[in-house]
Amino acid sequence: MKYQTQKLAYPYFMAAMGLFVVQVLGGLTVGTIYVFPNFLSELVPFNIVRMIHTNALIVWLLMGFFGATYYLLPEETETEIYSPKLAWIQFWLFLFGALAAVVGYLFHIHEGREFLEQPLWIKVAIVVVALMFLFNISMTLMKGKRTVVATILTMGLWGLALFFLFAFYNPANLALDKMYWWYVVHLWVEGVWELILASILAFLLIKMTGVDREIIEKWLYVIVGLALFSGLLGTGHHYYWIGTPGYWQWIGTVFSSLEVFPFLAMVIFSFYIVRQSTRNHPNKAAILWVLGCTVLSFFGAGVWGFLHTLAPINYYTHGTQITASHGHLAFFGAYVMINLAIITYAMPHLRGQQPYNQTLNMWSFWIMTSGMCFMTFTLTAAGVLQTHLQRVLGMDFMEVQEQIALFYWLRLGSGLIVILGVLLFVYSILSKGKAEQATA
């Protein structure tokens, strides 16, 4: 680690791991309620636990992005972070806001739009945190070298903050509310977050393969270009049935189908670059996470998204477990895995050790990934059946849920496997272990 201020990443990664555990435990609880509906029903009902599950996910991914930025920006710009002090204030404020939100949810203190349940003062705090962060990294970027990786990353982070502002607009007209709600949700995960994802990916490939930066940065432009050209109008696939005009069925169908391509390009790019390696990097686990990230996001975001994105198909699948299956694998493949990749890569540097516990870390990769894939398959099967019984044959919602109960059991099982993988991962990056030497 060349720059002192890269250490700022450490608290962010630690907090991310803590909230990651909260998130999966929330998921386990929700999965348990699906099969034992009376579990916690009086004390902490389903809606509260689900809020914790989704919000903890979003917050820990953001923590990871912040940490990743503080880690890679000094190396990219070849200068220290502008204000380490501001980064620390930002960290504590964000952590406090996140914990206050989670504890508040337990006491039914929340707002009521999906994923934007944070009370107003926490939303304001998030904006303050974002402003501190953007100021800090923009100042760093201005005084240092403006590489493509650093620029795209900063653009993505600015976009993230700007689109969050739509969280403050909540019109009484539900259709309008929903249309602008997607300005936050879709333009985050299928827009600016992809910029963040791709630039972290590019950074890791530059560092670990030794391939010429020029080649990787050109690819980076192509990938983020494909992502935004398809993803911006791809928002249309959320505008089919919420009171928006019928032409979105055409626009959404065409452009969201194209959303597969940036992910496909990422797979081809990452495997091609890794094969071109001129360097034998000792952190094999980090390379595994990088490659895994591109493959799983291709399947989760790309293929599973395409599965129900055509308007005539979405007419039947909209709002079923199909959506849940896609949501789980897309978030895991794209944003969880890129975070675990950079954490796996950076932790040994941050803790001043050789890459350690490689084997354990790789085990956690395979366990977590198989658990998530199996979870996706069970939810897909549940969703296909649900779609047919409920939307085609017109059976009652609750009757259908009884018909697909088996899949909820299987989902719970896969969730347990995921948790095992998560705990192994956290242990592998935090424990001392034997300092494994680089194998030739």
Binding site: I33, P37, N38, S41, E42, P45, F46, N47, I48, R50, M51, H110, E111, G112, R113, E114, E117, V148, A172, N173, L174, A175, L176, K178, M179, E214, E217, K218, W219, Y221, V222, V224, G225, L228, F229, L232, L233, Y239, Y240, W241, I242, G243, T244, P245, G246, Y247, Q249, Y315, H318, G319, T320, Q321, T323, A324, Q390, R391, V392, F397, M398, Q401
Partner: protein, 150 residues
């Protein structure tokens, strides 16, 4: 695909294309905004009761079990047409009473059945929520959902 392209060309395509598609997207949502206000929703009947009802819906985080126009959680039934399901479109009074009776009977506590919490809504909140559901049921959703309502 990138072999024959220079980095500068890739950059220009990225920035140019992004601006191009973003402008189109914003223009189309602006048009959709007008379409929602003028055509697909009935703004004239969007009164304070409906707005308050939406707040009741949000305050109790209904979206984290139910879906509304297909968005939300999938643990409990879709409620976009719940007003029609409870007969409110034919007789509003019956619809309101049925909705209130349903919510007041929760939770059933029956073993092995999904439990809806007791939200202890006031009379006013029940009426507002019903007004909200009634308003939502009349949004033109391009024919969604496909299931027969009966």
């Amino acid at each position: 695909m990138s072999e024959g392209m220079t980095k500068t060309a890739a950059r220009n395509i990225f920035f140019g294309g992004t601006i191009f598609f973003f402008v189109i997207f914003v223009a189309l949502t602006a048009h959709s905004h007008l379409y929602i206000v003028n055509e697909s929703t009935d703004v004239s009947s969007l009164d304070d009761a409906v707005a308050r009802g939406k707040h009741v819906w949000e305050k109790n985080s209904c979206i984290n079990c139910h879906s509304l126009l297909g968005e939300g959680a999938y643990y409990a039934p879709e409620l976009g047409k719940v007003w029609v399901k409870f007969g409110g479109d034919e007789d509003p009074e019956t619809g309101r009473e049925a909705l209130k009776a349903w919510m007041n009977a929760m939770p059933t506590g029956i073993e092995g059945r999904r439990q809806m919490p007791q939200f202890n809504l006031t009379e006013q909140e029940h009426a507002d929520l019903a007004a909200f559901f009634e308003w939502v049921s009349r949004i033109d959703t391009q024919g969604w959902p496909p299931e027969p309502i009966e």
